[in-house]
């Protein structure tokens, strides 16, 4: 699944929690594949999304800039699926914004690798030259 296809699907308002979580995984897979890694099938804290994020952040602390975004996605998934009777459209809409943010961050970082370096990793962009 390409990033363009993911973006197009994210703009669809009718996505459920399951699909939004899967799209989050697809986004992280794109990041790993672009860096020559095979996306893990493992789970962390019960979620493949969190295992994929951990794999992406290994040796690249700046990828932690989307750590909380991934965790919020999982949190919203849990809220929406653990008590479906309490799940509302507002919560689902928020989950979509979170998934979109993950998309914008990862697609932005694929274009500009330094995104998150300076701030979230507190890593100098020119360490090799320093």
């Amino acid at each position: 699944m390409t990033l363009e296809a993911i973006q197009a699907e994210l703009e669809t308002a009718t996505l459920g929690a399951d699909r939004l979580l899967r799209l989050g995984e697809r986004i992280l897979e794109q990041w790993l594949i672009a860096h020559g890694k095979t996306p893990t099938e493992e789970r962390r804290e019960g979620f493949r999304l969190l295992a994929l994020h951990r794999q992406g952040a290994r040796d690249d602390a700046s990828f932690n800039a989307c750590r909380e975004t991934c965790r919020e996605l999982v949190y919203h998934y849990n809220l929406l699926t653990s008590s479906p009777e309490e799940a509302d459209a507002q919560l689902l809409q928020m989950m979509r914004f979170i998934a979109r943010h993950l998309y914008f961050f990862v697609s932005g970082k694929l274009q500009e690798a330094g995104l998150g370096d300076f701030c979230c990793a507190s890593r100098p962009l020119r360490r090799a030259e320093a």
């Binding site: 949190y75 919203h76 979170i98 943010h101 914008f104 961050f105 995104l115 998150g116 979230c120």
Partner: protein, 312 residues
């Protein structure tokens, strides 16, 4: 009285460069709120840049030195035990310098050498406590007292609190956070929520409070920054917020400017107002919009503030 409450009544104040420029409203409102609450700020004498983005990108040890010089003046010359930095970038860099000086002998060596050349005592790790404006107001005043001092409740004002990244990341430079109880959380920070709620505001459920805004790339890759910011703004609006409260001049400028850029470049108009949390607290304490610098913000929030907060 708790140790923090006692220690934070009078602190060294490190505004940093942004608060003298694009973030002047934050400087103005922080000082005004402190004064209204009877807290004392003593500005660090002859302070310098914390090393922010530019220096850190070229030589991180020079950044450590620059931040350590600020701490050395506050500790060794002004005899303070606490320095307060309202800017997330300054706060982050001072905390990072503290961490490096404690854990990295090479950083200690560079700081010692440069301090000697510059003719001042080298800052030694553990000599000073670096806090953010949120820590300062939360601990020195607290929600209960703040609630008692409110003259103009923010009741009905729906707020999405946006903390940005450098207040909580990377986690290892903030050892005092995530300690349970009332300590600040790096994954779901709440100090700004707590303070604004005490002032009467309604905090909306906002899941992107520490999400990346692309701030460091705002000039090199503006479209990425605009997309990230627009998503944050749209999420806040969808959550029902009238206002996004900020506690960092870089976040604040980024949100304000990319809100405008989203309209001009992407044709997407949003209506949520961007205000510093200190501006909102100042208004709640009865200060005028001008006293807290609402007129200095990039986007025009004056009409909203007058209609929704000060003229009720």
């Amino acid at each position: 009285m708790s140790k923090e409450k006692q220690n934070y009544q009078k602190v060294a104040y490190y505004p940093g460069c942004a608060l003298e420029g694009s973030g002047h409203a934050y400087n103005r409102s922080t000082k005004a709120v402190g004064k209204a609450l009877g807290l004392k700020l003593e500005e660090v004498r002859n302070w310098n840049c914390c090393g922010a983005m530019e220096v850190k990108n070229i030589d991180p040890k020079i950044q450590t030195y620059l931040s350590s010089r600020v701490m050395s003046i506050a500790k060794n010359e002004m005899k303070h035990d606490v320095v307060m930095a309202p800017c997330n970038g300054c706060y982050h860099n001072l905390k990072k310098a503290e961490y490096d000086l404690k854990n990295d002998p090479a950083s200690r060596e560079v700081v010692g050498e440069l301090s000697r050349k510059a003719g001042h005592a080298a800052y030694e790790a553990g000599g000073l406590e670096t806090i953010h404006a949120l820590d300062w107001l939360k601990q020195a005043v607290g929600e209960e007292e703040l609630g008692r001092r409110v003259k103009n409740s923010l009741s009905g004002v729906k707020v999405a609190n946006y903390y940005g990244c450098m207040y909580t990341r990377p986690r290892h430079i903030f050892p005092e956070k995530d300690q349970g109880g009332a300590s600040e959380s790096t994954s779901k920070p709440h100090y700004m929520d707590d303070l604004l709620e005490a002032a009467g505001a309604v905090n909306v459920e906002f899941p992107l409070k520490t999400a990346c805004c692309g701030g460091a790339h705002t000039l090199s890759d503006s479209d990425t920054s605009t997309r990230l910011v627009l998503n944050i703004i749209q999420a806040a609006e969808a959550a029902g917020a009238d206002v996004i409260a900020t506690e960092c001049p870089t976040c604040h400028s980024g949100l304000e400017m990319h809100q405008i850029r989203a309209q001009t470049n992407f044709g997407v108009e949003t209506r949520v107002k961007i205000l510093y949390f200190t501006q909102l607290l100042g208004l709640a304490l009865g200060l005028s919009p001008r006293k807290v610098g609402v007129h200095e913000n990039v986007s025009d929030s004056m009409a909203y503030v007058r209609e929704a907060i000060t003229r009720r």
